[in-house]
Symmetry: C2
Subunit: 320 residues, 2 copies
């Protein structure tokens, strides 16, 4: 009888473990801010977790509190205040570049946060260290730089192309360098949950305008994942509509340039990009900009891509 | 007949001029943000004009766009968008100190603004120049510092105690140095419209806690204006409730310390502070902080002062 019980137990355990592994795929994304400037209450920031977890990393942190209040009010998570969600559910920050609209929320909300790591490329950590957490702009809540060092946020220096594991999240992140008014460096973060991937790009110009090959290199790295249907989504910026001349883009994309770059990736991926969902971020507010950009993208979408627009506080599930 | 017409004309002109002078008193204040941290959509910023003008100066700029949208929606001014109000109605910025929650909106909204002056003490201009408008944190839209210099915002260096005239506004401003975690410097701005005055304090600790005499000096300068019923209002911070110990105040006031300081001013002003309206700003959000602070101030208000709490987008008239 003992032997029989053991076999039943073993069977159940294996079945449960296998179910857990099957369900542990895909991603859950909660945008805390989606716009590309001006409106302080809605600037680039995206919480991402594996689909079966409420332990998130936060990709950029332009707006935190105003977005977290919306998340708390809509009861997307069990914590009932924005502050509690920031403390408990965000396990690490990844900052794509040093511009204020991608990190203002991190600085402003640091006094009420708890200790956690801040991941970034060395050039981005330099900006945090020399310009923000300096005792001139703000108390130094970070782990290096001007003294006294309060040490709440531990800088974690990223190396391009090297995957890091983020504690408590089951997420793995590989970073790629982007060009945002050459030679200013921005970053793309490739997130992995088991065999599923999600790509988030910080601000970037097109290779043709930036005189750069950084997006070409990124697309080469992404192509196999697209081919294998492993890249579930791409978050990529379109800041201006097509009326903006190249010389006034300041390291950003337009609908035309977005489609130019996505066509390159699609070509490298045996025309399989339709299997990857595209999320357009960072639209800069102006009277008709959002409408124009959406209309121009719809017109230019010759590949039949699944393109949508994240909204602040509206969760996105990527499980397919 | 010619002589009679001239006398009538002269009489009318004198009467009109006299009426204009009589009505040109007091102030109109539109708070763009009132909180002391965390919530990016509602951080310290106050538009102030003479009561008969829509040409404002902006005292601090923690939040601009989110507040300006509210102002536009409630049709407080004739311009129908936040961006138009920023461009047309704000003629100059006065920044009290270099902390991000007092200037984030200025940086973030600089791309869409038009040319205008930014007034601050030299130590504050140094922070703007070395930490924000640096091409690392943000494009250099200012008039000095890292090249290329875009020159949209002309730095205007203030000297303590020296009154400056702000073009296009009929406002005159005198600056006083404050202590915000000694020796970090903050500022108070004394605005004058003819013979009426308004005092705005950036972040400040109490003299007893800061080991400073800066508030004592400020109160000495303000006392004659209070006695003469010329000081129409004081905007002053209370960041924490009385439960916060002195060592954790980080250069801020509590209700207890506010009343301690206001009693000093009242004593210097022959107990006439009741004629000056007190506006409490910069409450730091937490679950019960706002209620606690209001209750503690009401209890501690032994002088019977007129104390109120500005709200974002709600205009305040000070004409008495």
């Amino acid at each position: 009888m003992k032997g029989k019980h053991f076999i039943i137990y073993l069977f159940c355990a294996l079945a449960l473990s296998s179910t857990a592994q099957i369900t542990n795929k895909g991603f859950k994304i909660i945008p805390l801010g989606v716009k590309g400037g001006l409106d302080e209450s809605n600037l680039s920031s995206y919480m991402v977790a594996t689909s079966n977890s409420d332990n998130f990393i936060c990709l950029d942190a332009g707006t935190l509190n105003a977005g977290l209040q919306k998340v708390a009010n809509s009861r997307l998570l069990k914590e009932v205040s924005g502050e509690a969600i920031q403390k408990q559910n965000i396990k690490a920050y990844f900052i794509s570049h040093g511009h204020l609209d991608h990190l203002s929320g991190l600085i402003l909300n640091s006094p009420n946060d708890i200790a956690k790591p801040v991941y970034a490329l060395p050039s981005v950590i330099d900006v945090l260290k020399n310009n923000y957490f300096t005792w001139k702009s703000w108390a130094n809540f970070a782990s290096e730089g001007d003294k006294p060092i309060l040490g709440k946020y531990k800088y974690q220096s990223l190396t391009e192309g090297i995957e890091v594991e983020v504690p408590e999240t089951n997420l793995f992140v590989t970073t790629y360098s982007l060009s945002h008014v050459n030679p200013y460096e921005s970053s793309a973060f490739l997130l992995r949950n088991n065999k599923d991937f999600l790509l988030y790009l910080g601000d970037t110009g097109a290779d043709t305008v930036e005189k750069s090959d950084k997006l070409a290199k990124l697309w080469t790295a992404m192509a196999p994942l697209v081919k294998n249907n492993q890249l579930k989504g791409i978050f990529i910026e379109v800041s201006f509509d097509n009326s903006m001349p190249d010389k006034a883009l300041f390291g950003h994309l337009t609908p035309k340039l977005l489609m130019l770059e996505l066509n390159k990736l699609n070509n490298l991926a045996d025309s399989k990009l339709r299997g990857t969902k595209i999320f357009v971020t960072h639209i800069k507010p102006c009277s008709n900009c959002e409408e124009n950009i959406k209309s121009e993208i719809a017109t230019a979408n010759n590949l039949g891509l699944q393109i949508s627009y994240p909204e602040q506080g509206k969760a996105i599930q990527l499980n397919n």
